[in-house]
C-alpha cells in the first residue's frame, strides 16, 4: 500500500509534463485508497495508537522537571519565574492602586485605604488631555467620551482593573519586542533562530500556553499580565526587525560617517528614524493586549475580561454584552490614541519658547497635575467627584436580555430554519467528507501541492507537519478544525471579496466600509461570540458565525488594497481598448490583484484559526476544544500538543498560500 503514497519525481525530465503526470497518478492513487482502501489498510483511516509519538508525555515530563528539578545552582527555575512575577507585580500594584483600589495598608479584608484611587473625573480629564495632545479636540472628545461611557454604564471599576494591567503589559511588551527586534537586527543568526519561534508563537493558540504560565507564575493578575506580554511580544519583535531594516541605508551611512559607536547607532540613529514604523507595533501590542484581556481572566486577571467570561459561561447575555461594549470602548479609545500619537509630526517651537516657565512649556502635564491636585482633595468630601454616582448609572443588561428574548420568541423558527439548512446541507456533509479521508493520502497530496508551488523544501515542510498531526493522534480533531476553518473562510471570502471590490470601485461605499472594517478590527475576538451565541445558542454553527465575523476584515482590506494598487496605466490601456467596466474589473484588475487577494485570504485563515480556539467555549469538538479542556484540567502536555497541531495547520496553509501568491506574482511580472 506504501506505493500508493504519491511522491514527486526526483529529477523531472520536462518539469511541466512530469508534474502533470505525477498529479494524475497521485489523484488516482488517492481515490483508490480512499474508496477501497479501508478493508485492506484501516491504519490509513485511523492512525494506530501504538504508532503514536508520545509528545504529550514528553511535554508533561519536561514541565514536571522544569517545576520540580530545573535549577541554576543557587536558585531553581520556579524561583526565577516567581521572582519575575514579583518584579512585575510591583508596578502592577501601583497602577491598580492608582486607578482602582487606592493604596491600602494591611491585608485582605482588614486593609485600610490610606490614599484613595484617582477620582473618575480626573481620569476622564487626563484621558481627554491625552487625546487633545495627540489629535486635537476631536480625539479628546472621542477618548473622554469612551471613558465616560464606562462610567455611565457602570463598568468603571472593572475597566480600571483592566486598564491597570494593560498599562503594565504594554510598555513591557513594547520594550521586550523592541529589544528582541534589535538583537535580531544586529545578528542575522539571532533573527534566523527566532523567526520560526515567532511563527509558532503567533499561530499556537493562546490557551495552549496558559497552562505552563499558570504553573510557572501562579494564578494571579500578574500571571495574566505575563501571558498578555508573551502574546503581544512576537508581532512587536517582527515589526521592530522590519522597521529597523527599512531605515534608509543613507541614514545608516550617516551614523557611521559621524563615527557613532554601536550603541549610539542603535539608540540615537536607528530607533528614532524607525519610530513611525515602530509605532505601528505599539498600536498592535495595545490591541493584542486588549484582545487578551478576556482570555487572561482565565488565569487570574479580573476586570472586564472576567466579567465577560463569567457571563458567557452562564449564558447571561445582558451582562456579558455590557462588559463587552466596555472593552470595545476601551479598545477604541486606546487605539485612536495610539494611532494619533504615531501620526503626530513634530512642529517647531516658537522662538523664545525656551525662556518660558516650565508649565507653559509642558501645558498638558501641568494641566493634568492641576486636575489631580484639585479633584483629589475634593473627592474626599464630595462623593460624586470620587466615583460616578450610582443613581445616574444606566444598565442595559436587562434591555439586551429582553431584546434577545423578543427575537428568540418571534423569530425562533426562521433562525432555526437557516441554521438547520446550513448545517444539514453544508456543514455536516463537508465534515463527513473530510473525516472520511485517509491521512496518508492527504499528507501525500499536500506534499505534492507543496512541490508544485514551492519545490522540494516546501513539500517536505508541509508533508512532515501534516504527518506530525496524525502521528500525535490528533488527525480527527484536526480535520474538524480544518472543516470549521475552511467553511468559515469560504463564507468570509464570499462576503469579504465582493465588499472589497465594492470598496475599491465606489468611493463613498469604500469610506463606509473602511470605517466598519477599522472598527471590527479593534474589537476583541470574544465580543464576536456573544451575538452569535445569543441568536443560535451553542454549536458548530454559532462558532462558524463568530469566526466569519472575526475573520472577514482582512479579506475585504486586502482585496480593496490589491485593486487600488493595480497600475492605473494598465486600466487606462484597457479603457482605451474599449473594455466595459465589468471587463476592466474581471479581465484586468482582479487578475492583477490576485496575489494580494491570496494574501488577504491567508490572513483570514490565520484569524479564523485563532478565533476557532476561542469558540471552544461554545462547544465545538475540534483541536480548540482539546486545548480548552487541557486548560481546565491543567494538562500542559495535552494543551501544547493540540496547540502545536493548530499551529501546524496554520503554518501549512500559510506556506502554501504564500508560495502560491509568490508564483502568481512572478507569473504576472509584478514586483513587491
Amino acid at each position: 500500500m506504501a506505493d500508493a503514497l504519491p511522491r514527486p519525481a526526483p529529477e523531472p525530465v520536462s518539469p511541466r509534463h512530469s508534474l502533470r503526470a505525477a498529479w494524475a497518478v497521485a489523484a488516482l492513487a488517492f481515490v483508490i485508497l480512499w474508496q477501497w482502501g479501508e478493508p485492506v489498510a484501516d491504519w490509513a483511516f485511523d492512525y494506530p495508537r501504538g504508532w503514536e509519538i508520545p509528545v504529550k508525555r514528553w511535554i508533561g515530563d519536561f514541565m514536571k522537571w522544569l517545576l520540580e528539578e530545573a535549577s541554576f545552582g543557587l536558585f531553581s527555575f520556579t524561583d526565577l519565574t516567581r521572582f519575575i512575577a514579583d518584579v512585575i507585580d510591583v508596578p502592577y500594584r501601583i497602577a491598580l492602586s492608582l486607578l482602582s483600589t487606592g493604596f491600602l495598608r494591611g491585608q485582605g479584608s482588614d486593609a485600610v485605604q490610606v490614599v484613595p484611587p484617582l477620582p473618575w473625573l480626573a481620569v476622564i480629564g487626563i484621558v481627554g488631555l491625552l487625546g487633545h495632545a495627540a489629535g486635537g479636540l476631536r480625539l479628546a472628545m472621542i477618548t473622554a467620551g469612551c471613558f465616560l461611557f464606562l462610567a455611565v454604564f457602570g463598568q468603571w471599576e472593572n475597566a480600571m482593573v483592566t486598564l491597570a494591567s494593560i498599562l503594565i503589559a504594554v510598555p513591557i511588551g513594547v520594550m521586550g519586542g523592541l529589544l528582541l527586534g534589535i538583537l535580531g537586527h544586529r545578528w542575522r543568526w539571532f533573527e534566523a533562530a527566532i523567526t520560526p519561534l515567532l511563527d509558532l508563537m503567533q499561530t499556537i493558540p493562546i490557551f495552549a500556553y496558559l497552562v505552563p504560565i499558570l504553573f510557572l507564575f501562579g494564578f494571579s493578575p500578574t500571571a495574566a499580565v505575563i501571558a498578555t506580554i508573551i502574546y503581544a511580544l512576537p508581532p512587536m519583535t517582527r515589526v521592530s526587525m522590519l522597521a529597523l531594516r527599512s531605515v534608509p541605508s543613507e541614514v545608516r551611512d550617516l551614523g557611521r560617517m559621524i563615527g557613532c559607536t554601536r550603541r549610539q547607532m542603535t539608540w540615537r540613529v536607528l530607533v528614532p528614524s524607525a519610530k513611525p514604523d515602530l509605532m505601528v507595533g505599539v498600536n498592535q501590542v495595545i490591541m493584542l493586549s486588549l484582545n487578551m484581556v478576556i482570555i487572561a481572566s482565565m488565569i487570574g486577571a479580573g476586570g472586564l475580561g472576567y466579567e465577560v467570561l463569567a457571563a458567557l459561561r452562564r449564558l447571561d447575555i445582558g451582562t456579558g454584552l455590557e462588559a463587552g461594549f466596555a472593552i470595545v470602548a476601551l479598545a477604541i479609545a486606546l487605539d485612536r490614541l495610539s494611532q494619533a500619537a504615531a501620526a503626530r509630526k513634530p512642529v517647531h517651537a516658537e522662538p523664545g519658547a525656551a525662556r518660558q516657565p516650565l508649565w507653559a512649556r509642558h501645558p498638558y502635564s501641568a494641566a493634568s497635575l492641576v486636575l489631580i491636585a484639585v479633584t483629589a482633595p475634593l473627592a474626599l468630601v464630595v462623593g460624586w467627584i470620587e466615583s460616578y454616582p450610582a443613581a445616574l448609572q444606566i444598565s442595559t443588561g436587562s434591555f439586551w436580555a429582553e431584546t434577545m428574548k423578543w427575537i428568540n420568541v418571534n423569530f425562533f423558527d426562521q433562525l432555526e430554519a437557516i441554521k438547520n439548512a446550513l448545517l444539514l446541507n453544508v456543514l455536516i456533509p463537508v465534515k463527513r467528507f473530510l473525516l472520511g479521508l485517509p491521512w496518508p493520502g492527504v499528507v501525500g497530496l499536500l506534499g505534492l501541492l507543496g512541490y508544485t508551488l514551492g519545490g522540494r523544501r516546501l513539500a517536505l515542510t508541509v508533508a512532515v507537519l501534516a504527518f506530525l498531526i496524525a502521528a500525535t493522534g490528533q488527525w480527527e480533531k484536526a480535520m474538524i478544525t480544518v472543516y470549521l476553518c475552511g467553511i468559515s473562510v469560504m463564507f468570509a471570502a464570499l462576503i469579504g471579496i465582493p465588499l472589497g471590490i465594492l470598496a475599491a470601485e465606489r468611493e463613498r461605499a469604500g469610506r463606509v466600509i473602511q470605517v466598519v472594517i477599522d472598527t471590527l478590527q479593534t474589537l476583541p475576538s470574544f465580543v464576536y461570540l456573544m451575538p452569535a451565541v445569543m441568536l443560535f445558542r451553542v454549536g458548530d454553527f454559532t462558532a462558524m458565525l463568530a469566526v466569519i465575523a472575526y475573520a472577514v476584515a482582512p479579506a475585504v482590506r486586502y482585496t480593496a488594497h490589491g485593486l487600488a494598487r493595480v497600475d492605473p496605466q494598465l486600466v487606462e490601456a484597457g479603457t482605451v481598448a474599449g473594455c466595459t467596466p465589468w471587463q476592466l474589473l474581471t479581465k484586468i484588475k482582479l487578475k492583477l490583484a490576485l496575489p494580494e487577494i491570496m494574501l488577504g485570504l491567508n490572513q483570514t485563515i490565520m484569524l479564523a484559526l485563532s478565533m476557532l480556539v476561542i469558540t471552544a467555549l461554545v462547544g465545538t469538538r475540534d483541536l480548540g476544544q482539546e486545548v480548552y479542556i487541557a486548560l481546565t484540567k491543567a494538562d500542559t502536555g495535552r494543551g501544547i500538543t493540540a496547540g502545536l497541531a493548530v499551529a501546524f495547520i496554520a503554518i501549512i496553509a500559510d506556506r502554501l498560500i504564500s508560495a502560491g501568491a509568490a508564483r502568481t506574482r512572478a507569473r504576472l511580472g509584478l514586483q513587491r
Binding site: 534608509p248 543613507e250 541614514v251 551611512d253 550617516l254 557611521r256 560617517m257 559621524i258 563615527g259 557613532c260 559607536t261 549610539q264 540615537r268 540613529v269 528614532p272 528614524s273 519610530k275 513611525p276 509630526k345 513634530p346 512642529v347 517647531h348 517651537a349 516658537e350 522662538p351 519658547a353
Partner: protein, 348 residues
Amino acid sequence: MPDTPAPADTAVTLECRNVWKLFGPEAQGFLAGQTAAPGLEAIRAAGLVGAVQDVSLAVREGECFVIMGLSGSGKSTLVRCMSRLIEPTAGEILFNGENLLAARPDRMIEIRRHRMGMVFQHFALLPHLTVLGNVAFPLEVRGVARAEREARAREVVDLVGLAGREGFFPRELSGGQQQRVGIARSLAGDPELWFLDEPFSALDPLIRREMQDEFLRLQAILKKTIVFITHDFDEAIRLADRIAIMKDGRVVQIGTPEDLVMNPASDYVAEFTRNVVRAKVLKARSLMAPLDAETLPEGTADVAASATVAEIAPLLSEGAERLRVLDGSGAPVGLIRREAVVDVMMRG
C-alpha cells in the same frame, strides 16, 4: 590607468591605489587568484559584480575632485570605499599617507568623527531632531558639551543661510533647505575631507542651480578637500577642479574640465562633452598666444588666465581687438586675439 600625477607642489590628501570592490561570494579569493587584473567577462563568469575595478586616483589638498558617472558606474560604491563605509575587496586607501583599510575600528571612528564629513543624496536627516539638533548631532555623538556644540551648530547654520530656522524640523523645510541642513551638519565637525554623494540630484533643476552657486560660495570660503559625486556632467564641469569619469566600475579618464572637453580619451567621454559649450570650459590660458613684440595699445583690458572664454567675451564686444592675460600673481603671460575668441564662440 589614465591618471595625471599629482604635481609636487600640492600634497595629496586621499589616494586610491588599485581599489577593487567585487560583490558576490568568494570575491576576495577570486581576486587573489588572479595574476593580472581580470576583465569584465572574467568577473561576470565567476558570478561576481564588479562595482569598482582597479581604480587609482589621487585627490589633492584643497581641490574639488568630482567623480562623474551614470547610474551603475560604481561611483557611489567608490566614494563609500574611500570612507570605508563599504569594505573594498582589494587595494589601498591612503588618507594623508595612512592606509585606512588597515585602520582598526576605533581608529576609523576617530578619523570619521574628526576629519571626514559627508553629504547624502537624500539628505539623511534625523526626523526627530530640529535643524539645530541635526547639525549638532555629529558633535553630540563625539561628546561635545551642549552649549559648545550648539554654538558651533549655530555658526554653520548661519553659514549655509538657514539662520532663524534652527528650531524647525526637517519635514517643515523644502528640499533645498533640507540639503542645506545636510551640508551644515557635514561641516559642523570642521572636516578636512568632505564627501558629497550626489548632493543636488534629488532637487529641482532651479534649486539645483542655486545650490551649486551656494556650494561654490562655500568652497571659496572654506577651501576644503572635496570628493563630489554626480551623474550630471554639466554639474561636474561647473564645480570641478578635476573630474574622474567612471564607466562600468572603471575610471575612464581623469582631468580638468578643459582637458576632458578638448581631449576626450574615448568616444564614451566625447559623448558627454559633445554638447558642452566650449566657451564655458575653455580657459584663457589655453587660448592665449605668446606675448610677441607687438606692443599692446594703451588701455588693453586684462583678464585672468583662469577665466573662461565665456567670461572674456563681453570685454571684446566693446570693440577691443586684443586682451592681455595675467597669471595668478598678476604678471602678463600672453595675449588673446579677438578672432580666437570669436572662433570658439561660433563653434558653440
